[in-house]
């Protein structure tokens, strides 16, 4: 490879791959959401269970897809991140913006569609559920908003100056 610290000649100075940075961040964000769900709620708190008996058949399918998402996303997202770094085309703001979007977006999807509309499972059983739901969805919305702010800031910073 080219010498230490010098930019690979295939990419111009300051050139960043914005699409891949965002995608990599989103993937890792989704993966983190999945892992927090698995470890915190399944293993530590035992609020979620391996198989919730009220789950309809297609709920199992969506569970399976969600599960595959988690593993797949973390591996692909991190390898893409490594690739961006070695090409010096990584954009910090875009990556973290994507990360927050992925994390918050997945949490919001889980909190609204999976818990409420489809009723696949709840955050916790045998308690009044609305405080849990509110905190869950509000946190998710805040993360999405911060993510969008970061992305917009990154785009405006790029249009003002050539640096990221």
């Amino acid at each position: 490879m080219a010498g230490e610290g010098s930019r690979p000649r295939g990419y111009a100075e300051g050139e960043i791959d914005s699409r891949r940075s965002i995608l990599s961040g989103v993937l890792v964000g989704i993966a983190v959401a999945g892992f927090v769900d698995e470890t915190l709620f399944h293993q530590i708190l035992h609020w979620h269970h391996f198989y919730d008996k009220s789950t309809p058949a297609w709920g199992l399918v969506s569970d399976g897809i969600f599960h595959a998402c988690t593993w797949f996303a973390v591996v692909i997202g991190l390898i893409m991140f490594a690739d961006l770094r070695r090409k010096y085309t990584w954009s910090k703001h875009r990556w973290w913006g994507g990360w927050l979007l992925g994390l918050g977006g997945f949490q919001l999807y889980d909190g609204t569609i999976q818990h409420k509309w489809w009723g696949l499972h709840q955050i916790r059983y045998h308690v009044t559920i609305w405080p849990y739901d509110t905190v869950w969805n509000v946190l998710a919305a805040i993360m999405i908003l911060i993510g969008i702010t970061l992305l917009m800031r990154a785009r405006s910073a790029q249009s003002v100056a050539t640096s990221r």
């Binding site: 295939g10 391996f50 058949a57 199992l60 399976g64 591996v75 490594a82």
Partner: protein, 337 residues
Amino acid sequence: MLLAHEAVASPGIAAFLPALPLLLAAGLYLFAYARVRRQRVGWPLIRVASFVGGLLAIALALLPPLAAHDEQFQVHVSQHLLLAMVAPLLLALSAPITLALRTLPRRCRHILVRVLHTRPLQLLSHPVFAALLDFAPLSLLYLTPLYGYTLTHPQVHELMHAHFLFAGCLFAWATVGSDALPGRASVRLRGIVIFLAFAAHATISKMIYASGPASAGVRGTSLHDWRLGAELMFYGGDAVELFLVLAFALQWYRLEGKRLERKTQPPVANAATAATLATENIRGKALQPRLDGLAAAATLAAEGFRRPVDVVTGVEGSRTRRSLDRMRGRCVPDEAR
């Protein structure tokens, strides 16, 4: 591969018969490895380890003690994971077909190349077909009384094991195989198939958990044991699929790295660039693309290798062009040999 009929009761000598074809395969691979080491471009030792590891996984699944207790559902699930997921992944990553192409005599090599380009094989090695062949019987087997049937009929049981191994190998070769088979699907398609396979495995495992042994036609297993087996299938499948995704992503990473190196090299003369391109899929110490690639190509030419393509197949420059012409689908006049 012939799978011998397993002994029914105590593990007598007949129970160890499945070891014979495995030992034969290991012997062939090691013999080929010894031959290929003498060639200019070597063979990574980790591939040998991977092949032996895959054979060990098959041995673990088919020999006692595991095979002696396989009426228990958890033991059966471990066998399934080993035969259908661990062993195929390790075997596919060891690139035995490429090794064969490097070490077989010329005649056999041409036959192999011709076979690899036939339509049926292209269909078999397509990721979508391989995935369907792998996962559709999986749901049929455990969610219908078919599984109970295999427990009472030993021949069908053997057939089931053979199917696990065969379908698993097809899937592994089609998605992450180190043998770059002709007509291999794109990275995107393979990635999508791996993702869907992952999801299907998780879903089917949970369905098995939910359905219970009665609907699979099994009588001797308690619901608790059945559920433990289903969870083992879920988490065990997770672990192996993780390595599958990792292998896939790392292959992509390596390919991108080679593309990047090509982009960053200053333009060199044709011979060196051709040598770089020719070694795309081979990891050989003598041929790492460097700025002095021109010198390396000159050395090789001096030592009797006529073209980079001869370096790829590693033979002392014989009828490689005919093989390549066949690979490209051009007509080749029959040899008068």
